[in-house]
Structures are given as structure tokens and as C-alpha cells.
């Protein structure tokens, strides 16, 4: 199904007076209003192909209805999201869950919805039917050269698919690690990983990047071979300028100061981008902003400040992607909430009075610094985000529109109530 523009317009018309009142109220106090709106309008977050189906845990998976049965249907779903929120203009493919059988047709289908292809993702954390070697004991870090070779070749194949689709980055997340003390030689595992990544790096086209993700635990529970940002950065530095570090918000030990890591990676020119989600306990993969929205704001505060300092423009220099598991919620609703939370955090960060903050920092005035940050954070920026979206042709209230138009009901009618999308 495709959401027709006139339906969105109708709903916007109904919501417009309430929206205008809110927007006018908040806009009056925004310095550089047009610049802020332009930045919000330009900001997009990629939707991963694995996020359109209901996720699960090791204890079970409770599928919803109308889940996409093919890559084409996944593109349709992202198209619906983009039609509503005008902030999700790309899709990030996971191989082999979503191998494009005909790249041109897939690109055309995406273009029809105004979509392009973001980073491609390899998978060496599962065994695929008929693969020669098992990844049970790891992939790029494996003690056996033949297994490493198989994993390297898989990554190179993923690059190939990405090239066909116009992508320009490979995102590598490794499950490689160990469950028990003694199982691994840590140095050996690191060196093997480095060697494997170097082979993949060699295969990168000139304009490509490789993003090295880290994670402290799960699915291995004693060690992970790329366990923290320090290890990822060490690898990225040894690899070269095309390699950098990807930050998944859920991949940190309890209480980690993620915003500081983001700031330092930006400083080093090694921040690849983000996998957005939220969590309370670990890699919980919950809706972005559902647990700790202030932390999300603090991260965007570092991004806005750090990218300004480097003269970076947002849309092109950093990868932004949702990475969550929608175990209970309708995946499309979850993604709409997630993108909205990200844009709210971004809008709040854009409202920070940078000059005043610098002055407070120079005076060690922690009270005032907090006031400045929280003044931006406590501002109700929802209508700013809505206005930017409205100007881009989206819905004032994407989630309400999604429900009002009964998109899920229509998808169930089209696809059935018992479909199960590929993914976790």
C-alpha cells in the first residue's frame, strides 16, 4: 500500500489550528528560526530492513500482523514512514536477510518512495543454510584461517550488493567473543580481527567507509573481541582513514557516559555514526527516547557542538540509523516514535544558547551551565519538529495519521495476519 498525499493533507488541515498556535508560541523565542527549521527538515534517519518485523528475545517471539514478506514490502513500509514523517529517506540493508535479487528493480522501487540505500550490514553471527564453516566460535577473529576467510568473503560480497544499490558504507558488527575464561587468547583474537578487517578494507571502493561497531557482551557473555570504543578506535586507527567507530547506544556497560565518548570520537575524526535505541539494562533495543530522553539530548548536544567545531554538515558526514527490536509494539509505530524522539532531541540541542554555555563553562559555573542546557531541553519543541515536517510535505502528527488511516489494518488485509519478516 502507499499513503496518498491528499489523505495526509486532510489530516494536517484538521490539526492545523492547534499546530499553528503551538508553533507560533515557541517560534517567537527561537533565534535563527529558519536555520533551525532547515536543519530539522534536512535531517534523516535510516531505517534498517530488519526493523520492519516484530522482534523477539531468546524466550520467544510474538509476531504481529501484516509484516513484510519480502524486501519489496519492506521498502513499502519505509515508504509509508517516509511519507508520514519526511525524515526517513533511506533504508539500511542487512545481508543475507535481504539480498536484492535484482538491484535495478529494487533501486527503482525505493526511488518510487523517495528512498535511497544507506550503509549495508553484514551478518556473521548466524550460520546460513549450507555455509561451509560455522560461525559458532566467531568469524573475523576465528582461530581457523578458513573460517576467517569465509567471513571476509561474506563482507566483500555485502559491499558488492551495496555498490549495486548506491550505498557507500559497510557496517560491521561482530558477535565474536567468548563465553568462558580461557576460551580465547585475547591478543590472538584481536590480531585475527585486525587482519580480517584489513582484507575487507582493501576491498572497499574509493568512496566507501567501513564502520566498526563495538559491544561489551551478548551474544557472548565473558568477552567480546570488539568490546568497547577503545578497542574499536584502536582497530579503526590501524586500518586507516576509511575506518571509523559506530556507536550503538545500547552497547555500553551500566552508567557509561556515552556523550563523552561521542565527543572524543568526533574530536578524533573517527565517529562513524549511530545505531539509535534506548535501554534500561543492556542492549534492550527499546524505542529511542522511551527510557532516558535527557541522555539522548545530551548526546545531540555534543553532536551539534562537535560538528559545528569541525565544520561538518549533518546529513552527509555521519550515519544515523535506528537499531531496535520491536517485541511488543507495531514496528512502524515504534519507528515513528523513535524518529520523532531523535528529532525532538536534535531540535532541543539546536536551541542551546552556545555562547552563554561557553561563558558558563569558562567561569566553572555549573549551575548556569545546567540552566542553559535544561532551558533548551524543557522547551516544548514538538511544534518545531512538526513545522519542519509539514514544510517537507509530511504529517503534522505522523503516528496519529498512521492510526487514523489504519495503515496496519490495510497491511494485514494485503499481507495476512500471520506473516513473519526476516530478522531477529
Amino acid at each position: 500500500m502507499q499513503i496518498e498525499k491528499y489523505k495526509i493533507d486532510e489530516l494536517n488541515h484538521q490539526a492545523s489550528s492547534k499546530h499553528e498556535r503551538a508553533f507560533e508560541y515557541v517560534a517567537a523565542d527561537v533565534k535563527d528560526l529558519e536555520s533551525v527549521l532547515a536543519k530539522l527538515e534536512a535531517f534523516n534517519v535510516a531505517i534498517p530492513s530488519w526493523a520492519l518485523g516484530t522482534g523477539g528475545t531468546r524466550f520467544g517471539r510474538f509476531s504481529g500482523g501484516g509484516e513484510p514478506r519480502s524486501l519489496e514490502e519492506k521498502i513499502e513500509d519505509v515508504g509509508a514512514i517516509q511519507a508520514l514523517n519526511k525524515s526517513s529517506n533511506s533504508i539500511s540493508l542487512h545481508i543475507p536477510w535481504d539480498i536484492p535479487s535484482n538491484a535495478d528493480a529494487i533501486k527503482a522501487a525505493a526511488a518510487h518512495h523517495g528512498l535511497r540505500f544507506d550503509a549495508v550490514n553484514s551478518n556473521t553471527f548466524q550460520d546460513q543454510k549450507d555455509q561451509q564453516h560455522s560461525f559458532k566460535y566467531g568469524s573475523l577473529h576465528h582461530v581457523d584461517k578458513a573460517v576467517r576467510k569465509q567471513a571476509v568473503e561474506h563482507n566483500i560480497e555485502v559491499i558488492k550488493y551495496g555498490v549495486e544499490l548506491g550505498s557507500n558504507a559497510l557496517s560491521v558488527w561482530l558477535a565474536d567473543g567468548s563465553n568462558f575464561p580461557g576460551q580465547l587468547n585475547f591478543r590472538g583474537a584481536f590480531q585475527n580481527t585486525l587482519e580480517s578487517l584489513q582484507e575487507i578494507y582493501e576491498a572497499l571502493p574509493d568512496d566507501w567507509k567501513v564502520w566498526v561497531e563495538y559491544k561489551p557482551y551478548e551474544p557472548n557473555f565473558y568477552s567480546t573481541t570488539i568490546g568497547d570504543w577503545g578497542q574499536s578506535l584502536l582497530l579503526a586507527n590501524k586500518l586507516g582513514p576509511k575506518a571509523s567507530t559506530l556507536v550503538d547506544l545500547g552497547h555500553h556497560l551500566p552508567n557509561t557516559n556515552i556523550e563523552q565518548i561521542v565527543s572524543l570520537l568526533l574530536m578524533e575524526g573517527k565517529l562513524a555514526g549511530f545505531h539509535f535505541n534506548d535501554s534500561k539494562y543492556g542492549d534492550d533495543d527499546l524505542t529511542v527516547g522511551s527510557i532516558n530522553p535527557y541522555q539522548l539530548f545530551l548526546i545531540f548536544n555534543e553532536l551539534v557542538e562537535g560538528m559545528d567545531a569541525r565544520g561538518m554538515t549533518h546529513a552527509t558526514d555521519i550515519g544515523w540509523m535506528i537499531d531496535a527490536s520491536h517485541n511488543l509494539k507495531d514496528p512502524i509505530e515504534d519507528l515513528l516514535q523513535s524518529v520523532e524522539a531523535i528529532k525532538i532531541a536534535y531540535a532541543q540541542a539546536l536551541l542551546v544558547d552556545t555562547a552563554a554555555l561557553k561563558a558558563a563553562q569558562a567561569a566553572n559555573d555549573a549551575v548556569q551551565a545546567q540552566e542553559i542546557l535544561q532551558a533548551a531541553y524543557r522547551t516544548d519543541v514538538r511544534s518545531l519538529v512538526a513545522e519542519a515536517r509539514l514544510r517537507a510535505g509530511g504529517a503534522i502528527n505522523p503516528l496519529a495519521a498512521y492510526r487514523s488511516l489504519d495503515v496496519r489494518g490495510n497491511l494485514i488485509k494485503e499481507r495476512g495476519a500471520k506473516t513473519v519478516a526476516t530478522g531477529l
Copy 2:
């Protein structure tokens, strides 16, 4: 010094047009506006006597200037806070740091500032000069009956001071615990604590309560004898109806769902009240709302809902107190920020559309439930809080007023730049 009312009025006059615009905007959408404002106006948070001085860590303490040198000056400081925010009409004494030498004079001094005395706090975590037995190895849980007796007597003496001042609750926080496996018999420690608390309980006046605080670690680093809410509740149930559990926000293991504990203690009729602060790592004692304001809102959401369900009124049935350590900030500024954060969270919780939330819960609609909570949370309620304060005779912007009137500068002039208040 005392902040004169006309100065606050002048500042309010300057701020009034901005305030009115904001208030009118947000008030238009508030159901039961007058009821919300009345609740906000009635809400007060006690200021502990130990919070008026600069705190410290085991690594050092960097005092500020103009700190109160006596209980009378501490009352003056709370008076200044109350004059500005009209939400801090009581003071919570810590004995023996602030023993009132003349109760009538102290009560009169407090009344002069519109203050009364909240819960009194005992201290068995330090040795006082000339005390017979040391609390090095604990107090109420001690293996030696004589030490327990000394600790019980101290608590009974604290009650006596409280009675003189018109307080009606004893707050007990124990540092009792162990640093090493084997040091303690856990059951013995629990039973000794219970026996000691029973003796204190017997000494409570009829209309008094005893609040049993819990904490997982620090200053002991292997076990704490009242380590979590389960242990505190076990004791409170064995003690009787006058005993209940006090929740200090910083006293939890990483990732604890505090709002669930609050909800269940309310259900059991055993929620004594709160020690408010914020933290990232442990008992960090930071400004309330400075690290995770959404969690604070979620706690207030449980409070509003749970107290309504029990027919409780806020001001009288639960103890509200700041408990923080102002290592870097001006203590009065920190307290003003903390009370403001609490009232903002409370105001947001009052805006939750309860009926809609119940409907969403009944339908397992997690998406809608989140929308409802976050709609309240994202509302900029600062002007609601300010309006309630204005009606009560306080400042629209307490912190700005404090700075504008140079209260600290005047205190330094009066008291000197090198004073050090009693406390941690």
C-alpha cells in the same frame, strides 16, 4: 540576612509579561487548572540542615563562602529559599550536627521565616567526641549489646529534640554493614537491628513515625544490613504501623526500577517518603533532575496515581526531603534547582491524562501509553510552577532572583569567605 518581599515583587514585575505569555499558552490546555495550581502551591519539600554547606568526597572538600556557622544561620538560609520559592517551608534537623540549644528560640526563629520542623535524623555513622563506644563496626546491628544500647539511646534522644521542635517523625539511616565476607553473620545483624529498632519504636510518641532508610553500599562495601527495600519493608512490617520505608533515590543498584518500588510500597501502605537527589553511578547526591529527569517524572507519576488510589493528600501523608551533596555548586542555588526540578516533575505528572492511560493499559497499547506519558512530560510546565509560586508570594524565577539580589555576596559579607558548615 532576610530577602525583602518588595525586592522579589520588583523582579517579578520585570518578568511578568514574559511569564504571562508562557502561562497563558500552557494553561489553556490544562484541565482542572485551578486544582493543578492549588496542588503545586501546597507542595513543599523539606530542606535538611546539613545541605546548606558545601559537601565533599573522601578525596577532599572545597568549601565555598558565606556558609552558615550555626543552626540559626541555617534557618536563615532555608528562610531565604522559602522566600524565593515558597515550596520549602520546613527544615529537617540532623543530630548531633545541629542540636538546638534552646528549642523555643529555634522554633521562634523558624516561625519568623514561616518554617516548621520536619523529620529529625539520627547519626550513628560517625563517632562523636567523647562517646563511650565506637560505631566503627556498626550501631543498631552491633554484636555488642552495649554499643547497640548507646545507639538506641542516641535515637531516643533525637526523638526528644524532635518533640521539642514540633517534629513528628524520626528518620533512621544506618551505615551498619560489613566490608568483607565473613565479617558479619547476616541473620545476627538483622536480628540485632530489629531488636534495636523495636526499642526505638517503643519510645515513639503516639503521633510519631519512624522511617527506615535502605542503601545497598557505602560506607560499607560488601554488605549493608538494611540493604534494599525488601529488607526495610521486612523490618517495617515486623515493627508495626508507625514504621515505614524511606526511599532515597540514590540508594539503589545500577538500573533499579525505582518507580516500581515506590508503587508497591504505596500499595502496602509503607511508603514513608523520599530523600531526593540524582545520580549516574551510585549515591552521587547530585542536584535533583540533573541527570535523569524522566525517571523523576515517572516516580511522580506513580505517586500521583498511587496516592489518588489511596485517597491520600500530598502535603501531609508522605515525607519529602532533599538529600544531596553540593560539592561544586552554591548550596542554596543547588537547592533551588532541586526543588524546581521536583515541582516540574510533579506538575508534569499532574498533567497525565489518567483516563486515557488506563484505557491504553487495558488495551495493552504500549505505544499509546508512552504517547500519553510523554505528552505530559514534553509539555513545558515551567510557567505553571512559576504561576503557583507567584500566587504564593514567591519569585517567578527564584534562581535568577537569588543571583540578581546577590544573596551569596551578602552572606559572605556577613559571615566571611571561609566558613564551613557542619555536615559531610
Copy 3:
């Protein structure tokens, strides 16, 4: 397959001189040697029926070979473990993964291997094919009475299966919880759970117990309705004397002092028993003793002391069960290592000089208390455990025997290399 006794005897003969030298060395210093050996010989740990197959994570599952294809084959596997270690004389069934189609035949098969049936386990964390209501949003805590009823009936059915097999306890672990703030009313969820458990409690035969397990998170990631020992104990107390609290070692927030919880539950007469495993990050379900063996010893130290204080005998009063996920190891090898680690910890705890420890505690002599505990812990008790096993007819070195006899190779020959056992 069945391991023939003479083969074990042969291997024991080869290992005997080395064993005897070790045993004689350590036994010389053991007070009450025969009593210690008798306790070790009498100590058994139940093997859960879901632990005989390779486990997995949400990211994938890498099956091994020769996994049991039926309950009968699972009993065979436990029989092999018991033949080797003589400490695993019971099996704990999980319904509906292992519904006994013919109870008499199953009992006979078990008896053939010297096995009986321990606690039975219900499952309301997954949907079974054709079940009327989904457990997607919980079971015993569900907002919908009809779903709760279905879950209660399932538990009652599990009791029925247990009665047929001679079991006398129902173990209840609930995945019930929420992923997002607002999704649940915590009090409502608790009250529904209590009501459901009361209905199950009513259906318990006279000599049965119900064990209430707790867990802070996973598979729900914001709240769990029975989240910690305090909540479980609250329920158990409201239910009555047949209800008590089950401790799964992996179900705790970071840094929790588990041994203190064990001690207090024993004190309250509400310790149901254990699910043993080990972990570094969360509910990692690793081999018992593989990550933090000293903590395991400290737990056994509390058990030995606390059970002595209550006059309890081990084998009958408390439930002991492995609960782990063998993602990488051969499940039988993992179970052999786990039982061995438990028995080593138990043996060490039996060596603690209790009288000296009490004296050190009475003197607040933390140095000496640590020396006493660590003297027991540092003693190499492996030969004591082996001697007890030898006397019971088991193997001196169960794991070495398992490998030497190529049990897995034979299982693969019998069952095939691509079997997948039911379970997680």
C-alpha cells in the same frame, strides 16, 4: 546408550593412585571426615529437561550433535550424568516442552537410571501452537481475566503431570513485565499476579510446594512483575506456608549481594531453593562456577550455616537445580562441570571452622574472619568430592571419563549429528 559400570571402574582403577595420594593429603586435616564425605555423597542437584540440548541467544543457536530427540532420550542423558557423578539423581521437567505421554513408562525409564522427578516447571513465556489467548503481554499478571485463567489452568495442568511422576513442587517463573513506562499499572499487575497465584496455590496437593522465582529484567526490559526477592517474598507471605522464594543466581542486578539474600530467606523460612548458573553481565546462564567461584562458595557458606541453625538436612528441604544455557559447550560436559563446581563449593563450605568464625565475628575481627573463610576456600577439595563420588559408585573424574568413553560420539551415532532438543 547406557554407561556400563565396569568401564567406569576401569577408569577409576587407572586414576586411583593419584587420587589416593591427593585424598590422603587433604583428608588428614579434615575434622569429621566421615560426616563431610557422607554429606557430599548425599548431595544431589537436579538436571532440568531443557538443559540437555544446545541453548542459544536471540542472535542465533548453533546446535551440537546427538541431542536428545525425546523425553526418553533426555532421561538417558541424565542417566549418563548420574552414572558418572552420582550427584544428579533427579530430573526437573519443563511443560509443555517435555510432556510425559505415559507417566508410568516415563517413571520406569527414570527409575532404571536411578532417577526421580524434581520440581515441575510451567511455561507461560511462549505461545504454544493453538493456544486460545496469547501471552505476548503476560500471563498471571495480564489485564485480561481470560488470559490469566488460561495461565492458571496451565499451571494446574503442570501440577497434574507432576503428581503422576511423583514430583512435589511447582516452580513458577514469569516473564510478565513491561517494556515501556506507562505500559503497566504496577499495582494492578502485582494484584493480578497474586490472585492468579492464589488460584494455583489452592490447587496444590497437600504435600506440594510452589516456588516463586524472581528476575529483574529479560525478556521484558523496563519492569518485571516479580522483579526481586522482596516482591517474591511479599507474594510468598501473602500466599501461605506452601509458597517460598526461588533464587536463580543469574537473576540479579549488577553487584547484588546474593549470599545476604539467601541468608535472610533462610531466616524467614522462605528459601525454596536454587537455580544454579554463573554470569558476568546478567542472566548469562553460564556454567556454574566458571566466572565467580568465590561467590558460589560464599552462598554455600550461608547455606551450611543457616541450615544448621534451622536444623535442616540438605537433601530434602531445599531445591537444587542447574539452570543454564549451553550455547558453546557440549551440554552434558557443561552439566558435569556445573555439578562439580557446586560440590566443590559445598565441600569448601563444610570445611569452614565455624567456631573460630563465630569468635572472630564476635570480636569484629574482619582480618581473621577472612582468613578462616579463605583457608577453607583455598583448600584443594577436589579429592574429597571425588572420594565421596567413588564411594557412591561414580567416576573419580567424571568429565575425563565422559570423554574417554566417547559418550558424545556414541550419542551422535545413535541419534544423528543434526538433532535439536526442545528448549531455548
Copy 4:
């Protein structure tokens, strides 16, 4: 006081038959026995000058008796430890707590006890009387160049003292960080720290090293400017070959895999050394090996393996130091227990069957790898450590000897019962 050798000999004589029986039993199975004993004999751990007095927490400090009142008396205390355990032949000075007024006299006093001076430690986490600028808001990272300069000069002065005493390393631990979001610009703080460290680096003598310590939190509770090993390594790499990363075991977020960090720092040639202690919750500074002795063993396992791989010899290439806070125990007893725990872990690591472990790792045999590690760990090596100590002229049982000789009683007689040593 000084412990006379003949008294130790007498006690050893009494303990010798028990020791010999134990030693002979365990030694029979040790490959390369003499090499193991030689390594144990050569292994020494520095005692910090601040560890001879009773520590405390922010809640209080309970001093013991007979604490050293001067640097000379601290040297005496370390001399007593060294006389007993022959593994503590150096002292690590903290400036300005222990400024040597006469370097030659201090060196002579140390030499008299067979002691030399290990790394010197600077202190910019407290303000000293009369210092011009305050370190309230940090030192090397400070926004104000003048404060940074003062901190740099202090470090250079510490080097000067170290040179006089024959030390050759500067250990830098910074409390620099922030308590609140917004207080700091993270990049600015990092760059200032780097610049300051470069100035200190320039002042290092040719044969000196600078050790850069990291810590995630405390005394700052939102961010630390050198917060983790990644940040420390980034600084060390930018500084040059004389700079490396110091690992304090207590300075990690919950559940951190410290042994992996140790392994990777060794791989990079950037492991400066250790501050040993143990902890359950955070930087608890408890006796080494009192909470998680298996983790300590795993760290030594990496050290033995990694240093062998680099051809390093232990005594000279890495810094080993205790860093703990003895709040409850007699400091000397705590230190004796700590050094013993370290040597036990080292001895166990030396017993690991390296060849078998490599084979198991090459086969991904996690079961066997665990068996190999735990076989070494479960071996009772106490008599090996004692034998090495005996050969070096120390006591078979240092702690028992300390008590038997009533060293503390004598110190109290000499120094008084109410002394308080400098330090935390």
C-alpha cells in the same frame, strides 16, 4: 620498632613440619619447580606511603592505634611488612602527604630496611594550605591556564623529589571531571589535559616513565576527563614512548572485563602497571582478593602469558602497587593479606599448563580450556608461596607472625593509641 630475624626464625621452626608436608605434596606435581619458586621469590609489590594509616569514607574515619606519624615511621612499617613477607621491597611516595625533608636520610632509612622507592605520586585532587589556585574545578584539564600551570609545576616538583630518592616513574591520577552535564566541554578538557601532560612529559628525566591512570567516576560524578583505558591510551599514544596506562582494579564500570584490557595494553606495549585492590561495587579499595579472587587469577594469567610473549621479566618492566583503603582492618594486616593474595594468584597463573591451553584454544574447546585454568586455580599453592618466602628469609605465615609478635601492640606503645597518619 624492627622485627628481629631470630624471632621470625623461631616461628618458622614451629611451623616447619606442617609447611613441609604441604609443600612436598604440592611441589611434586609442579613442572619447573625451581623456576616457579625463583619467580615467586623475585616478585615484589610496592607499598604506598598512604596505606599505612586507617582510611575512611566521606561519612567518617575511625582511626586505629599506633599509626605512623612521619615518613620515617611509614618506612618502619613497610620494613616490618618486608621483614615478614619479603615481597614488599619498595615504597611509593605520595606528595605532598610525604615530602622527604632530607632525601639522603630517607634513602638511608629505607635502605636500612632493604627498601627502595617506587613510583612517586602527585596530588592535584585536594587543595593544600596556601596554594594559589584551587583545584576545585580540576587541575591539568582546567579551563584556566594559570591553574593548569600550577598543577604542571606540582607534578614537576614531584619528579624532582623522586629523582632524589632514586625513583624512576611518575604516577598521575587526576580527579578532573565534572558533576553535571554542561559543566565541561569534553574536547576542551581533553586537549587541556594533553597539553598539560606534554609539559610534564618534557620534564621527565631520560630513564623515567609517566603512568596515566584512568577512573570512570568519583570524586566527580558525571564525567571524568581520563575516564577509561581508551582515553588513557589515547593520551599515552599522543605523549610518546615514556607514557603508558596504569590499571587500578577498582576503576572500572560494573562487569568490565579487566583481564582483556590488561591483555590488549600489554599487546600495545602500553601497560604501565597496577594499583591492586578489590571491590564489589565501585572504587571500594578493599583488600586484594577479598571479593573476587578468580578475577585476580585471570588477570595474572594474562600477565604471565602476555609478558612471556613479549619476553618481559616481571620485576622490572611493570609497576606493581597496592592501592587500598583500610577502613576497618589494621593497615599492616590488610597489606599482608593483599600481598599474599597477589602472590597466590601469581603462583596459580604460573601453574597453568600453557601448551595444553593453547591446544584447547586452537580447538575451540571451551570445556577443556576452563578445566586447565581451574586446575591451576584450584591447586592449593599457599605452601609454594610460603616456601619462596622462606627461602628469601621471610616468615612462613606472615600474618600469624605479625600477631604472634604483637607488632601492633608494640607500635601503639611507641606511638600512642590516637595517632592519625596522613592520607585519605
